[in-house]
Amino acid sequence: MTFEQVDQLIERYYDGLTTVEEERNLLKFLSQPDLPTRYEPEQAIIGYFKPHHEKQHFSIRSYMRWASVAAVLLMGVFSIQLFITDAHASYAYVDGLKITDMNEIKLQAMATLKDIPSGNEEVEAGINSLNNKDIIQQQLEMFSTFE
């Protein structure tokens, strides 16, 4: 655009006769650097109405929301990791005291397994558990049926 054309546009602008397209062209012209000083007032006036890029407003609320979600996620992951680690750890308690030495734990486990009786032992234990007095009583009752 020539300076003459711009001057005409500026006059039309002040008269309220410019179209949107003309205003856009005028704004584009006035946005250039190193313009003659006579255009400074128009730069100030028309530049005032220039659409500004919307400033990105930093919203602390939105930040807090995402920060809290991130914190919960982290806590959840951390807790699950802790739980998994604890669930898979071997241990023993003897008289209420925790043991973590693997050899000791295995010894205790083997000792417990030895307490499980095998088939023959069960039968013997069953017989031995009978009260001797009961056996005598049963045998006497058998004879008492005879008349």
């Binding site: 071997s90 023993a92 308690y93 417990t112 397994l113």
Partner: protein
């Protein structure tokens, strides 16, 4: 959306619950495990003298007949749906109970309970999870004695 995220984390945690958490005997372990006169063992994914257990949990309680009654009550509930492999009754009271529980995913599960009074009162409760067939596991345990 935040609620969905939190719920997802929660469900992930729930998914990690152990196979024995549905059993009544868990209460026995919780109640007596850390008491005096008691030995409690938990072995996870460890080779134990040739046994290949995913989980071995045992309770050894001395001089506590009440604990024996409590465990028997727990076993009464846990034996529902289970196969009673062996039971020994003395004076009308079960002193040995071996249960083969329904499988949980790929794991076979066993409960072994034994109570002796001679020479001292002793209760043994064992819970086993294994990828091997529980009958094979039981035969191995009884054979190794």
């Amino acid at each position: 959306m935040y609620l969905v995220l939190i719920l997802l984390i929660g469900f992930a945690g729930i998914g990690n619950l152990q196979a024995q958490d549905d059993l009544e005997i868990k209460k026995a372990f919780d109640q007596y495990g850390e008491k005096k006169g008691v030995v409690m063992v938990e072995l996870t994914d460890e080779m134990l003298d040739g046994y290949d257990f995913s989980l071995f949990k045992s309770l050894l309680i001395k001089d506590n007949p009440e604990a024996a009654n409590y465990i028997r009550k727990c076993l009464k509930r846990d034996e529902v749906g289970a196969k009673k492999v062996k039971q020994v009754v003395a004076n009308g009271v079960p002193t040995s109970i071996y249960l083969q529980l329904p499988r949980k995913k790929e794991l076979y599960r066993l409960i072994l309970f034994n109570e002796t009074s001679n020479p001292e009162h002793k209760i043994t409760l064992i819970y086993i999870e294994s990828k091997n067939d529980s009958e094979d596991v039981l035969k191995l345990i009884l054979k190794k004695k």
